[in-house]
């Protein structure tokens, strides 16, 4: 393997893991938004309620370190149909007394949250490991004394 000029791979790791953690944090934020708005209906009769949001990640070349990093490409909305409940007294109820509720499924959001958490922790582990590798390298200076 020929040595390559450029950024130090060990410091690259914390940057990559940091980007991963940032992306997962964004995902968790969207999950929190979805859960918070799980029952947010429209304000006028027949109005559309809150629409579930989703996150799309993409692998992008980080030019500063010259390695494939991750970033949030876009926040899209879920086009799944809304659930409908019969509640004529509700301000958002239409002429038939039906209220449109958000297409948020709490179970799906919870599993999404768990997955984001897991990926976040994996990134954190990598960061810790990189740190111990850097410490081991610096400790070489101490080994003689």
């Amino acid at each position: 393997m020929t040595p390559v000029a450029g950024p130090d791979p060990l410091s690259m790791i914390s940057r990559l893991s940091g980007a991963g953690m940032e992306a997962q944090t964004h995902r968790l934020k969207i999950v929190a938004q979805n859960i918070a708005n799980a029952r947010s209906t429209g304000g006028t009769p027949g109005a559309d309620p809150y629409q579930r949001k989703t996150v799309v990640f993409s692998a992008e070349l980080d030019r500063e370190i010259g390695a494939l990093s991750v970033e949030v490409k876009k926040t899209a909305v879920d086009d799944a149909p809304f659930t409908v409940e019969y509640d004529p007294a509700h301000p958002a109820a239409n002429a038939q007394g039906e209220v449109k509720l958000p297409n948020v499924n709490l179970l799906v959001e919870m599993s999404d949250m768990r997955e984001a958490n897991l990926s976040y922790e994996a990134n954190l582990q990598m960061m810790k490991r990189a740190r111990s590798m850097i410490t081991a390298t610096i400790d070489l200076l101490r080994s003689g004394s």
């Binding site: 393997m1 893991s17 997962q24 030019r63 010259g66 390695a67 991750v70 990926s119």
Partner: protein, 137 residues
């Protein structure tokens, strides 16, 4: 003196340090590739990448991109050495065509970390030997 499949030239004792340094560098690059995989663990279409196994001999050379203008794109060590893992070798392929398995990556990270510890320990040990031979009364 023979280290692995490498025969040292003459009796140069510092060759071990050179070998250990290369090994540590390889471990660093591989760890960065693994960090990239983990960061992209939920990216659709992302294919797991890995670094070729450590080779102590100089026989295998790679073509490196030449930069003769600062505006040229600079590729880091990871991009230089990264290889896609063939789909059949990946542990897990999700519906979004992502082939990163967090378990596998963390296992590889642990293995690479061990290689790095070994390399730095060897370097430290030889450094201490060198120092003790120089400083003994």
């Amino acid at each position: 003196m023979t280290v692995g499949n490498v025969t040292a030239v003459g009796n140069a004792p510092l060759y071990v340090t050179e070998l250990a340094a290369r090994r540590a560098e390889w471990a660093g690059i591989r760890q960065a590739a693994i960090a990239g995989n983990i960061a992209n663990a939920n990216t659709p279409q992302y294919k797991t990448r890995d670094i070729a196994a450590f080779e102590a001999d100089y026989a295998r050379t790679r073509l490196n991109l030449e930069r003769h203008d600062p505006r040229h794109m600079q590729l880091g060590a990871v991009e230089m050495h990264a290889e896609k893992v063939r789909e059949g070798n990946a542990w897990d392929v999700t519906h979004s065509a992502n082939t990163v398995s967090l378990d596998e990556e963390l296992m590889k990270a642990d293995e690479t970390g061990r290689h790095h510890t070994l390399a730095t320990s060897v370097m430290g040990a030889f450094h201490r030997m060198l120092l003790s031979s120089v400083s003994s009364q």
